[in-house]
């Protein structure tokens, strides 16, 4: 009878569907998942091994010099103090592990995100499809990514990197799209009028002119990656997030603060240094930067 129906009985089993879909993917795409897993593991491990392979003092010196050269000598001093604090707190290895994971997943996010952004800018159809997906990716609470990542790829750095890259990619896509669309009509016309092919138009006109916007996207991606990497320590991604997590689990305020401070210092360094890449400095042409960003350098 209708009178016995209550609104609380109304139930759409979205959660069950998602679980079923995840199970299905896991059962049918084992090979693909393993391939992705191996590739990401290879990239992230190599970054980490490479960075940890450099003597800590030398690496710290390089970071300080980059900070002083790209930003200012004052910022160089800040970088020096930061390095000293990180060494002093005994969290160098964790910091480098986090840095490697951030760089690894950011590079992946950019390698995937920038071409998607370019495709969005060139076809309105693609934009119409991708935009809601991006909205979804950005508004979904980041913790939620950890679950499928852990199910598909187990625990450790790989699911951490994947959750991070999914979470950090949207700004790179959005700002690439926006940057290219904002290139003035006359510049595009000039490119075409002088006989650019579609490819030349993209490489010689649209991307260089969109570069400030794209670099803002790169900066945002790196910052989001850093915040996600800390969360990803919950599925064993390691690094500074682990220090914070241990602090929480043991209710050790001091340890938690040390980990947190490490994240903050790393964030400031990464933010200022990546922002400086967007501005023009003599000696480094945008072309070179473009090649670097596209991974062709």
């Amino acid at each position: 009878m209708a009178s016995e129906f209550s609104i609380t009985d109304f139930h759409i089993p979205i959660g069950e569907w998602v679980s079923a879909a995840v199970d299905w993917i896991q059962d049918n795409f084992t090979g693909v998942l393993d391939g992705i897993s191996d590739a990401i593991k290879f990239i992230v491990d190599n970054f980490e091994d490479g960075l940890l392979g450099i003597p800590p003092v030398l690496l710290a010196l390089i970071i300080i010099l980059i900070a002083a050269w790209r930003v200012s000598w004052r910022f160089g001093i800040f970088a020096f103090v930061s390095m000293a604090l990180i060494f002093g707190m005994g969290i160098w290895d964790e910091t480098i592990s986090t840095l490697a994971l951030v760089i690894g997943s950011s590079v992946l996010a950019l390698v995937i995100g920038i071409p998607i952004g370019i495709a969005m800018a060139r076809k309105d159809m693609v934009e119409a499809v991708v935009r809601p997906v991006l909205d979804f990716m950005q508004t979904m609470p980041p913790f939620v990514y950890l679950i499928p990542a852990a199910i598909f790829f187990g625990l450790g750095k790989v699911p951490g990197a994947i959750a991070t890259l999914v979470f950090a990619m949207p700004p790179a896509v959005r700002l690439t799209n926006l940057g290219i669309r904002q290139v003035s009509e006359e510049h595009v016309e000039a490119g075409r009028a002088f006989g650019c092919t579609d490819r030349q138009l993209l490489l010689k006109v649209q991307l260089p002119l969109a570069m400030p916007s794209i670099m803002a996207g790169v900066n945002q991606t790196i910052m989001l990656a850093l915040s996600m990497v800390v969360i990803a320590s919950m599925i064993g991604a390691g690094g500074l997030g682990n220090t914070v997590l241990t602090g929480i689990q043991r209710l050790d305020v001091g340890l938690g603060f040390e980990g947190g401070l490490g994240v903050v210092l790393l964030a400031i360094l990464l933010d200022r240094i990546t922002q400086s890449v967007g501005t023009r400095k003599p000696g480094v042409s945008l072309r070179m930067r473009l090649k670097k960003v596209l991974g062709k350098g």
């Binding site: 000039a190 009028a193 002088f194 006989g195 650019c196 010689k204 002119l209 945008l286």
Partner: protein, 397 residues
Amino acid sequence: MTDKLVIEGLYKIFGPEPEQALALLDEGLSKDEIFDRTRTTVGVQDASFAIRDGEVFVVMGLSGSGKSTLVRMLNRLIEPTAGRVLLDGTDITRMSKGELIDMRRHKMSMVFQSFALMPHKTVAENTSFGLEVSGIAVAERRRRALKALETVGLAPFADSRPDELSGGMKQRVGLARALATEAPILLMDEAFSALDPLIRTEMQDELVRLQQHEAHTVVFISHDLDEAIRIGDRIAIMEGGAIVQIGTPEEIVTNPANEYVRSFFYGVDVSKVFKASEIAEKQGLMVFERPGVNVRAALAQLKDRNRNVAVVVDGDGRYRGMVSLNSLAGAVDSPGDTRWDDAFLKGIETAPEDMDLSEVLSLVAASEYPVPVVEEGGRYLGIVSKTVLLQTLDKAG
């Protein structure tokens, strides 16, 4: 002069169903009626004309008249809906993508209103953009870029960035970029409109100078009649997507096809449009040929026809001087060989054929007699009287 570009029945309809709009246009509906019925906009309708090799062809019209659309169909930045564009006899509208790119690289280059320089490239790199795109080696590119920059007087700034230059200098770079490809056709879209009036005039002179040096076929878009008159060999006037009149500046000023065309001249300085030779009247005065007529006979003829002044030329039609009743009467008793010379009025200034009307104006105002206009070789062309001047100014105003 041969025709470089021939435009035949060119249409551009913006909107979803261009064929329908074309059919309605055939039925004679106006642009607004078609928009109401089909939501399509007629950009350009039935443009047919020829641009001659080496001329500066100005397309004039108010904003929205379709002039920018028209010029963009010439290099297919905008695809024509119907019609043909023939470049040296080859139909551009039928070119494949590859042929079109090749044509843009070698046959036609373009200058833009807001310069459209690449801020991340140096002046020289900007100038060689077209060459870079066509895959020419760096050294050759640089050489040709410097040559083009030399032409526009910017060679010293080759390694500056565009943001270090003034507006006029930026547009010189834009011009150099177009010249560097050595394309025979230049499309200039309101190229000087964004510049200060002084710099604009300077750039117009620069273009005229360039044309004398090495004549390109220039299609110049403008909304400024003064500019069109200054630089244009011929002017096409567009209204509502249609071309309403094509002609030399003089033809258009003296014979505007309709009120729209006439409306352009309000505020235009007509005295800059005409040259002395264009308004000189041959029939204005009696002319005596010196070896044929003697002073006494001339005096008699003047009296006979009730005239006061006359012009004297020699056997080859070269201007010798002007005479009046009084000066002739005074010279009748002079010795035979100086009789004519004594009869000539003193202080008469002649106007060279290419003198601007504005200067002729002051000559006429200063003299009590009409001003004779003389060709470079000395041949007499006619006179400009106060009456003729007033008529010219009145017609144009």
